[in-house]
């Protein structure tokens, strides 16, 4: 079902539509929260809080084209609030990762899951070596696929800064990954 129709039915009070919306975006919201918190339980709480906030503000949200950046903004705010509240570490600073915690959908098969988990583990280790703003740039642009204009609005920085910084962040991540695993770029 089209997202616009789904949102329309959610606003009209259709509980099935709301359930479908949660099912459709749960993976993305959970992954976002996990990127900031690096803890499954905390990420689960934050993802749930994000959906509750979305539910409460859904009536005032009209533009379905901007739903993804809007949702990412809410998830990011919730995650940063939680990180500040926990006062544990900066975003993406991290615990030792469990390879089973990261990866694609479970339906991808055990071998594919294991390979994807290994790759994600490598990327997370490389992300840990980057600056916070570059990590966030990678998360929003390369992983979540937001447009540069949307990132500029979200982070309240000029579009030109996003353009310049996103390329630098990507090159920095490539350097970090190759430093950890030289065979990655071969």
């Amino acid at each position: 079902m089209e997202l616009e129709t789904l949102l329309e039915r959610c606003r009209a009070g259709d509980e099935l539509a709301w359930e479908a919306l949660v099912r459709r975006f749960q993976g993305r919201v959970f992954a976002l929260a996990y990127h900031y918190l690096r803890n499954r339980e905390e990420a689960r709480d934050v993802a749930q809080e994000t959906f509750i906030r979305i539910f409460k503000s859904l009536d005032g949200f009209q533009d379905s084209d901007r739903f993804l950046p809007w949702m990412v903004r809410i998830a990011r705010n919730c995650s940063i609030d939680r990180v500040r509240r926990l006062k544990v570490r900066p975003p993406l600073g991290g615990d030792e990762l469990d390879e089973q915690t990261v990866g694609p959908h479970p339906g991808a098969g055990p071998e594919a899951e294991a390979m994807a988990g290994e790759r994600s583990h490598l990327v997370y280790r490389a992300l840990d070596q980057m600056t916070e703003i570059n990590r966030e740039m990678i998360l929003l642009k390369e992983i979540q696929g937001l447009k540069q204009r949307e990132i500029a609005d979200l982070l309240a920085i000029p579009l030109g800064t996003v353009k310049a910084r996103s390329n630098r962040a990507r090159v920095e991540l490539a350097r970090c990954i190759v430093e950890i695993d030289p065979s990655y770029g071969a």
């Binding site: 993305r28 992954a31 959906f51 990327v123 990507r170 770029g185």
Partner: protein
């Protein structure tokens, strides 16, 4: 063809940019001109000179002393090209001349070739990390927390009764949020205040609020002395006073004003704190003891300030030492007279 024209066209010939007629003209000229023939042999490498390979690090050395290397530029171009490809743009980043140069750099620079490969692989693999599956009961918990629906819970736990939450359809007919959001400029105002709330200036704001509270409670510390410099300048300009006497007189005023400000500030602070203490739901004995301690602190701070103002640092430090050693007591000289036996026991208890 003359020799000058031959020399001008020589490199175009070698690069294959001349037409057959032009090449024939040049050949006929070289056949008849020994100097141009030697020049052609030198340029084409047919002169029999031994081929010399430049040192392998020569290019890197020259670049290090001039532009500093082109690796960063090359990698940025690779990144931008990947962006353009992902956006489906037909024109590759840069002009047509850039791509061969980039390819040449990637062929000669092993590190950049490896990083370019990593960038391309990242482009393919990173989007797969956008989603992660939470546990199976996540959707059920979210639905229970929002619409209160008892949907099938996770497999390993029984379905639990959930507290009914307000359903979407049962909202009141008039929603003030909708009304506020329908106002013009509501969305920009909301975005503005959201950005305002997210900005990392908490420390500055805390300092501002603290200063504001201090000024509201105690008043401006410089109020008594603020007008002294301008008054001094005005008096000297009007030549009513000699400069030295004016300075001396106003320094005296400043001293008095400073003392008055300090005294007023500490009195007000003590008064406010005393008021605060009096509101605490403690016993009367504790209140009187705290008020007594505050009074002693005020007295001690006045004495220290007076000593400092008069330049008697040894006396000031001695008073500070006594205050630090026994903060709940007054001056050590009047220790015995001001603290009763019961209070002394209390003091010992506080100290322990």
């Amino acid at each position: 063809m003359k020799c000058a024209e031959f020399q001008e066209c020589l490199f175009e010939w070698l690069e294959g940019r001349l037409e057959a007629a032009e090449i024939e003209r040049m050949r006929s000229h070289a056949a008849g001109c020994l100097r141009c023939q030697e020049l052609e042999e030198l340029a084409t490498g047919d002169a029999g000179l031994p081929a010399v390979e430049p040192p392998s690090n020569m290019v890197a050395s020259i670049l290090a002393q001039t532009t500093g290397g082109a690796c960063d530029r090359a990698l940025l171009l690779v990144s931008e090209r990947l962006d353009a490809e992902a956006a489906g743009s037909a024109e590759a980043v840069g002009s047509a001349e850039v791509d061969p140069l980039l390819a040449m750099h990637l062929e000669s620079c092993v590190d950049c070739a490896m990083l370019a490969g990593a960038l391309e692989r990242m482009q393919r693999e990173l989007p797969a990390m956008a989603e992660m599956e939470p546990d199976s009961g996540f959707v059920a918990d979210v639905l229970a927390a929002t619409i209160g629906a008892a949907v099938p819970a996770r497999a390993d736990t029984p379905v639990q009764a959930v507290t009914p939450a307000p359903r979407i359809a049962s909202r009141p007919s008039f929603d003030w949020r909708e009304w506020v959001q329908s106002l013009p400029l509501a969305a920009p105002a909301h975005a503005f205040f959201e950005r305002l709330a997210q900005r990392p200036r908490l420390a500055f704001e805390g300092a501002f609020v603290g200063t504001l509270a201090f000024v509201l409670v105690i008043g401006l510390p410089s109020a008594g002395v603020a007008e002294l410099p301008s008054r001094l300048i005005a008096e000297v300009r009007q030549e009513r006073l000699e400069v030295q006497s004016a300075v001396a007189e106003n320094l005296g005023r400043a001293t008095e004003a400073g003392r008055a400000v300090w005294s007023t500030s500490t009195d007000r602070l003590g008064e406010r704190l005393g008021q605060y203490v009096s509101f605490r739901p403690d016993t009367a004995g504790t209140r009187s003891r705290l008020a007594d301690i505050l009074g002693r602190w005020r007295q001690a701070s006045m004495e220290i300030a007076t000593h400092l103002w008069e330049g008697d640092f040894s006396a000031a430090f001695a008073r500070m030492w006594r205050l630090w050693a026994a903060p709940w007591r007054g001056d050590g000289n009047e220790e015995g007279s001001s603290v009763s036996g019961a209070e002394h026991q209390d003091s010992q208890r506080y100290q322990s």
